[in-house]
């Protein structure tokens, strides 16, 4: 029992062509930039947008297949959707919002209200049951939307950018809550997001959507370790260097040389993890590193105890160093710097 979807749809100039499999109990994050077709994919799965070709089956039941002229409307699919802007019904109480799905399925009023109240207690909104959604904060509204979607016991829960509408200060807390609540759900879950951090925090597996197509799927560790395109590398934060290997040296299109430990000749991708890069003022400072590239610092981002430094040169790189190293070097944007990496720290795989 699972979700199996092959979604084909033309959206203006974007050709959405995405195949997905989700196992029971699994949370798949569909990761991609704005305009990649994430929300449209979700709308197709929910039944709000019929697909042009392909097939969507939930638990073995085909819900959309143009070839066999099968289409099951959203109200008959075993789904729950949490929308990006939550879309709570403004003129109903929070309790009525959560009871809405049950009432729509002809659950008796008292029973629906009792179960909705249970859900509100579970997500910590018991005291807001008689309030209007307007009275809720962003995080609370998200929990109300989650309770509303889960109250009908869906098999497939769809979350559209569940954290995008929140400000940075509340996001971490809400993300933690969301993970806790999602863990209690044993059905299939798909979350679309543009933020890899959400995927790190919540997903078992990621599917990277770019230009309407799934370009890579796997566990996040897997995708981070072996990104298959520049875009995926940028998205999950590693340096991906494409080039051709000749005699143990990978030569990029811009002519930069990357010495690698061992790999076969031919077109290849090298992954250079930001934290394996050492930044030094003088090239001889780093004795055992065999790769040294000169460059100019263009950007510095502090992320907790680490600092991400963007170096632009023959080989553009993102380096991640400790605050201590950063302070010792006293780096500033515009500084000339040398980036060095041990050849053995570079992973290479055929392109």
């Amino acid at each position: 029992m699972s979700l199996s979807a092959a979604v084909g749809l033309q959206l203006g100039s974007l050709q959405l062509q995405a195949d997905l499999e989700v196992a029971p109990g699994e949370l798949l994050a569909v990761l991609g930039p704005n305009g990649a077709g994430k929300s449209s994919l979700l709308r197709c799965l929910a039944g709000l947008q019929p697909i042009a070709e392909g097939c969507i089956a939930i638990d073995g039941v085909v819900v959309d297949e143009p070839l066999s002229r099968t289409f099951v409307g959203p109200q008959h699919r075993p789904i729950g959707v949490v929308f990006q802007d939550y879309l709570l019904f403004e003129y109903m109480s929070v309790l009525e919002n959560v009871a809405f799905g049950l009432r729509a399925r002809r659950t008796p009023r008292a029973e629906a209200r009792r179960r909705a109240a249970e859900w509100l207690e579970r997500v910590g909104l018991g005291e807001y049951r008689d309030q209007r959604p307007r009275a809720l904060s962003g995080g609370q509204a998200q929990r109300a939307a989650l309770a509303r979607a889960m109250a009908t016991d869906p098999r497939l829960l769809l979350l559209d950018e569940p954290l995008a509408a929140l400000d940075a200060a509340t996001r971490a807390g809400v993300r933690r809550d969301l993970r806790r609540h999602l863990e209690t759900f044993d059905g299939m879950r798909i979350m679309v997001t543009h933020d890899p951090v959400d995927a790190y925090a919540l997903a078992d597996r990621v599917a990277i959507l770019d230009g309407g197509s799934i370009v890579q799927t796997g566990t996040l560790a897997d995708v981070t370790a072996h990104p298959r395109s520049r875009y995926v590398a940028d998205l999950v934060g590693v340096n991906l260097v494409a080039g051709t290997i000749e005699h143990g040296v990978l030569i990029t299109a811009t002519g930069a040389h990357v010495i690698i430990a061992d790999a076969a000749d031919g077109a290849s991708l090298a992954v250079i993890r930001p934290h394996s890069i050492m930044l030094v003022r003088q090239p001889n400072d780093g004795a055992s590193a065999r790769n040294v590239w000169a460059g100019t610092i263009t950007d510095i981002d502090r992320l907790g105890h680490r600092v991400r430094v963007v170096v632009v040169g023959a080989l553009p790189l993102i380096a991640e160093i400790t605050v201590e190293a950063f302070d010792a070097l006293q780096l500033r944007p515009g500084d000339e710097i040398h980036a060095s990496v041990k050849a053995t720290d570079i992973e290479v795989y055929p392109a």
Binding site: P74, Q75, F83, A149, T152
Partner: protein
């Protein structure tokens, strides 16, 4: 957003003020004229006069019926025009709003040829169901509905277009049918506009004259509504017509003042009609 909060710095352009002032006087003068000539000492007598009371009662009953019919048929029509893409939608909308710009007498005449005893549909209504609409109270309701419903349709259609339809999507993913979604999500969302449109339609029905007198005639007790009574009294008893006219003005004025907050309202929630017609 509201005019009330605009700073008063005393630098308003004089020519604009003068022209606006003339416009206000233009609207105020006729009212003052009526108030000036009103026979206040005999006002109560004219108001409680049998004929006047009958006309007033008939006006209220008919206009409320017309309003109810406008809501029952106008809301689905507005929904159709706002939400369903079909060929010739523009033409259908124009057709349905035509009676708003048509001279009411023309509307009444058209109704007569459609629903009169020898009319296109009227002859069958007469022959099969023994229903005659012209010169009956039901005919008054038909004539008033004909001219009043567009006001509701145009108001509700605008609200439906402004509404976030994704809320309806959310409803459907929760297992709600289209009908349940319409009842529990769409209607409450446009409720204030339905109310505003209904009040507008009611005010229009109450003041309806041309279509009524053409289609339903002028029979005291069955088809003689207030506006007709005012017109008739102008010939026979001008003093009474002034009093009846003032009653109509008072009602209309109250409606407009009551709607003011909804249209020119205090916040962004206000529902703006596409055109102010009243």
């Amino acid at each position: 957003m509201t005019d009330r909060r605009r700073p008063r710095d005393g630098r308003l352009p004089l020519p604009v003020l003068v022209l606006a002032g003339i416009a206000i006087v233009f609207f105020a003068l006729p009212l003052i004229g009526l108030l000036w000539r009103a026979p206040w000492s005999r006002a109560w007598e004219y108001l409680t006069d049998d004929a006047a009371l009958t006309a007033l009662r008939l006006s209220l009953v008919c206009s409320l019926w017309a309003t109810a019919l406008s809501v029952v048929f106008g809301v689905p029509l507005a929904w159709l025009l706002a939400r369903v893409q079909f060929r010739g939608r523009g033409a259908v909308r124009a057709l349905c709003l035509l009676s708003m710009v048509l001279p009411p007498v023309v509307g009444g005449l058209a109704l007569f040829f459609a629903l009169g005893r020898r009319g296109l549909v009227g002859q069958w209504l007469d022959r099969w169901f023994n229903i005659q609409l012209p010169f009956t109270t039901a005919g008054v309701v038909v004539a008033q509905t004909f001219v009043a419903m567009p006001f509701l349709v145009i108001t509700v259609e605008a609200a439906l277009r402004q509404m976030n339809t994704r809320v309806e999507d959310a409803s459907r993913t929760l297992g709600a049918s289209r009908w349940y979604t319409f009842r529990r999500v769409t209607l409450p969302a446009v409720g204030p506009s339905v109310a505003a449109g209904a009040v507008l339609a009611w005010a229009r029905a109450l003041g309806e004259f041309g279509a009524t007198i053409t289609f339903a005639g002028n029979f005291p007790g069955t088809t003689q509504t207030m506006p007709l009574a005012v017109y008739l009294a102008r010939e026979t008893n001008p003093e009474q017509s002034i009093i009846l006219a003032l009653v109509l003005i008072a009602i209309s004025f109250a409606v407009l003042v009551g709607l003011r907050d909804r249209w020119f309202g205090r916040s962004g929630e206000a529902v703006r009609p596409p055109m102010v017609q009243a």
